[in-house]
């Protein structure tokens, strides 16, 4: 889950006393003009949870309220990488002496956390790592050790930060503390800047909340920007299912993320096009019936593959859900099964009785049949 820049600054950075420029969140052109009236020369920034806003035309300078109104007019309603722009942030312009990069994030390979800092800010971290690797400092942290100002000072040692050294160290420690407190996957300030008056301020902030911790970060989770999604995808998430709509005609119902992705892959490898990702693995194996209902509501689907391989998920429970939804909704759709693993004897019998067909031995053959039927 991502926060918008405005929320990340207000909810994550401000409580840690990290300096921000004067700013306001605006949902209309009139609000933007009024905010610019109060703030003065400003930057008008699209509030969408994605990078590359600048390149997409989502960030504009405005010297006057009229220019801010004009910029907001252009930006509101844009679509940036699939995200409709519903709000802009009006933020004061500032004289900048230097741009830095700072981040705290998970380091999955080392199974710990990573604090990053570079004296080269304002571009992507991938570019920084590529173009000026000697300017990128990394410090891995185990939670047992914590990360304090001495660690931060040591990390920054030799970087010629001048008077900013101690304040940047303090900010890195504050970022680490907020990262721990907020169950963040990532807190990134890019750029972190030194202003003409010597102060250090966050000009942007990217914040990613760990989905698994949403239950105990309710304020942040409530503020999270919604994923780009279709109405069917939203319906799915309301019943606790992960559904992604794709372009093809071959519908897929499978259990477990790995098996579902694999079913999509096999459709694609055998020359077909998958219509969706939808899995009912884990605790969701009891949800075959609502899952099938979602698929049947997608008119582009011309054939369906049901691919179950039960480990924890019981295929008999899943097959019963499919049969019940099918008998209730009576769709006119060719369906092809492959069913193995936990509960498969009973599941196969259910499919035979209800559909009068035999599940395919190999999932590859079920997929091949569905591709043909969808043509």
């Amino acid at each position: 889950m991502n926060l918008l820049e405005y929320d990340a600054k207000r909810l994550v950075l401000a409580p840690a006393n990290i300096r921000l420029l004067d700013g306001a969140l605006c949902h209309t052109v009139a609000e933007a003009a009024a905010a610019a009236e109060r703030i003065g020369p400003c930057v008008v920034k699209a509030q969408v949870p994605t990078g590359k806003r600048g390149k997409a035309g989502g960030i504009r300078l405005a010297a006057t309220p009229a220019e801010a109104r004009d910029a907001a007019e252009r930006i509101l309603g844009m679509n940036i990488a699939g995200h409709p722009v519903a709000s802009v942030m009006i933020e004061a312009q500032a004289a900048i002496i230097h741009e830095y990069y700072a981040a705290v994030l998970h380091a999955p390979r080392e199974r710990c956390s990573l604090v990053l800092f570079s004296t080269e800010g304002g571009m992507d971290i991938e570019e920084i790592a590529e173009s000026r690797p000697e300017m990128l400092r990394k410090h891995w942290v185990r939670t047992i050790d914590q990360f304090d100002e001495a660690d931060a000072m040591e990390m920054l040692d030799g970087l010629a930060l001048g008077t900013a050294h101690a304040e940047i160290a303090r900010i890195l420690v504050a970022m680490y503390r907020r990262y721990r407190e907020t169950d963040a996957e990532l807190i990134e300030i890019n750029p972190l800047v030194q202003l003409a008056d010597g102060n250090i301020a966050a000009l942007d902030c990217k914040f990613v909340l760990d989905d698994g911790a949403a239950y105990r970060q309710s304020a942040l989770a409530a503020a999270a920007a919604p994923d780009p999604s279709t109405s069917l995808e939203r319906r799915a998430s309301e019943v606790g299912l992960k559904f992604i709509e794709l372009d093809g005609p071959v519908g897929i119902l499978a259990n477990g993320a790995g098996l579902t992705m694999t079913t999509m892959d096999v459709v694609s490898v055998l020359g077909g096009k998958p219509a969706n990702f939808l899995e009912i693995g884990g605790d969701a194996y009891t949800k075959a019936e609502p899952a099938l209902e979602l698929l049947l509501a997608k008119p582009e689907i011309r054939a369906l593959v049901v691919n179950f391989c039960g480990a924890f998920a019981r295929t008999d429970v899943m097959a019963r859900g499919v049969v019940e939804a099918w008998q209730r909704l009576e769709p006119d759709l060719p369906v092809f099964f492959s069913v193995h693993g936990t509960g498969s004897d009973e599941a196969v019998a259910l499919v035979r009785d209800a559909f009068g067909i035999e599940p395919f031995d190999l999932m590859e053959d079920a997929v091949r049949a569905a591709i043909e039927a969808a043509q």
């Binding site: 998970h106 199974r111 698994g212 911790a213 790995g258 096999v266 391989c309 480990a311 936990t342």
Partner: protein, 300 residues
Amino acid sequence: MSTFPIIRRSDRIVVIGMTGGQGTFWTERMREVGTQIVAGVNPKRAGETHLGLPVFASVNAVVRSMQADVAVMFVPPAGVRDAALDVIDAGVGGLVMLTEHVPAHDMLDVFSASDARGCRIVGPNTAGLVTPGEAFVGIMPGHNNKVFSPGRVGVISRSGSLGTLVCLNLTRGGFGQSSFIGIGGDPMIGTTSLDALIALDRDERTDAVVLVGEIGGTMEEEAADYARTMGKPVVAFIAGRAAPPGRKMGHAGAIVAGSGGSYPSKRAALEAADVAVADTPHGIVGALAARLPALAKMPA
């Protein structure tokens, strides 16, 4: 001497959360195949007997009265951190974490402690470990002989459902398994593809390895570097070639950002290391037959 993460019948196993519905069901399945379960843990039921086994308040309490080699947890996400720290603190050498959606910051605390104490973790979000004909821990159909059969092919999988399908295909194709290591679908896990590959490379009962990976992260690339140095053939399947970029496909680990962790990146790294990459799950069987001398096949 424990060979964890290769599970053996000699491993003495504690089931945390054994008295719950899933804990009870899977403890019965594990024992059906001969797995040596020695105790259960539930703070509210300490002192009772369940399935004929003693129930303790904590793993620390278990190890005060008996030896334990491996702990497996049937615990909801919010309780995982403290239960895992109890296992680590008790000095148990192996921990299998089945739970999905464990907060990552809780896992940072767990890994910080396990590294300090030398506890080997498998998971979280794993379906478990199976050594056919011997023992299994977790929520795999280790008791189903249509899926698992004893043999000499080691299998590593991030996914339980796909791992089940692969083992089923191997069994039907005449290739029994020396051991199945489910490593888990999360991006941050205790035993990586590489760790599991090293374990199976050192295992005398394993002649070849099937590596079942997924897009996201760089684990398969790291395993490829090691596979290059192995004398045993390795065959791989990587799920997610048709996944749209940038969308989370259920497994938190399977998200592709930029070029790192993409299907082409993983496939190229594996093929450069002389690992055969199958296009479909059933293709694994053919690729294995081409690479493995007939002796590894099960007797008819």
